[in-house]
Symmetry: C2
Subunit: 213 residues, 2 copies
Amino acid sequence: MNHAIISEYIERLFPQFEPALKRKLIESAKLRDFEGGEMLMQTGQNMRSTVLIVEGMVKLYREGEDGQEFFMYYLQPGNACALSMICATKQETSQVMAKAIEQTKVLMIPISLMDQLMRDYKTWYYFVIETYRMRFEELLFVIDNIAFKAMDERLAFYLKKQATDLNTKELQLTHSEIASDLNTSREVISRLLKKMEQAGAIKMHRNYIAYLS
Amino acid sequence: MNHAIISEYIERLFPQFEPALKRKLIESAKLRDFEGGEMLMQTGQNMRSTVLIVEGMVKLYREGEDGQEFFMYYLQPGNACALSMICATKQETSQVMAKAIEQTKVLMIPISLMDQLMRDYKTWYYFVIETYRMRFEELLFVIDNIAFKAMDERLAFYLKKQATDLNTKELQLTHSEIASDLNTSREVISRLLKKMEQAGAIKMHRNYIAYLS
DNA sequence: TGATGTCGGTGACTTTTGTCACACTGCATG
DNA sequence: CATGCAGTGTGACAAAAGTCACCGACATCA
């Protein structure tokens, strides 16, 4: 039975939720699977649910006019999609792309429940506010980087963030992927990576980069 | 008496608030004045109130490491500062600068009231969510521009936005100010403006720019 | 083992943006 | 009205980033 699985996820990932809220979510949330590479959300799409990630990893990015994929941030188990909350509440369409980068499971909470949850469960309200705050801050960092920093610094920041978020020092990234995430060209990334390698910050290998220190 | 003035502002600028909420705000909000050029909020500052603009104009910008002022958006009468809500709720420090660009009046709502307002007044809750949504969207546009567009396009977008937000075709901006807002140099702006003038999009004058069409 | 495709390296070049230097203009102020 | 200053114009150059062309290394698979 799905309820038991959902219950387990909620207990593990959202322990701060009050018991009544947990029960409410267990009875009304739907579990949904996404394959790696599958889209959770697309620009212009209308959201009907708020999304809580419970397994896997979701990449949020802004799509440029000719299909560029400008990376913003990752969502991990325990995170909610701030945009799905916002769009859900207002019935607005999404402004960003969300893609599962590996096998991912999410809880879908019908938008019709949002009002009630916000009003009746303080821990939910705090969770929502905290979600907004975190994502807002992430966007501010993104803006800082592209507004004030040159490519080399942006690349260094990007690699560091990848190492932190994905919790590994072996970054499974091709130069093309990085270039796409930073909206530049592969050659630029290749050259900058070489400099970083010479400076001893990384070690390059085929298909992955070892992040040192 | 201040209550009467506050009441008038609320009636005029926030007609969508339910009567009980209006009464609550009238009794607990404080009116505060800022001179043009005065800071409402500074990076690292701790917020103790949620801020509603009722008169004037507030400029939100991100501060770079060497004092650059990267423009994000304006707040006008009827708007709330999304960041003051977020920071207020979590007792976090602000990540941006907010500066009054003219004589400005705001309503300050003590953070201690936020929980109660969110829970008890549906129109407040909607207002907050809508505020988040709008500002989130603004940030996404900002990111679009700096991530995907070249200076000329960014400048065109910037001028258009100024004309819209400030509701005038006579933009009281010096080239230096524009350069600072877009985090580039005055010379670049001067040259691009000349191109735009030649293309017939604007007409330059000393100390102001006429935005045509 | 040869064919193919992805990944990465690199030189040469262009374009865009940033920097420096200096000149000009109109306004304000004493 | 002389002086100073903020605002602007502009040429020359430097630096950063983007583009193009092409190469080689490696993996996979028939």
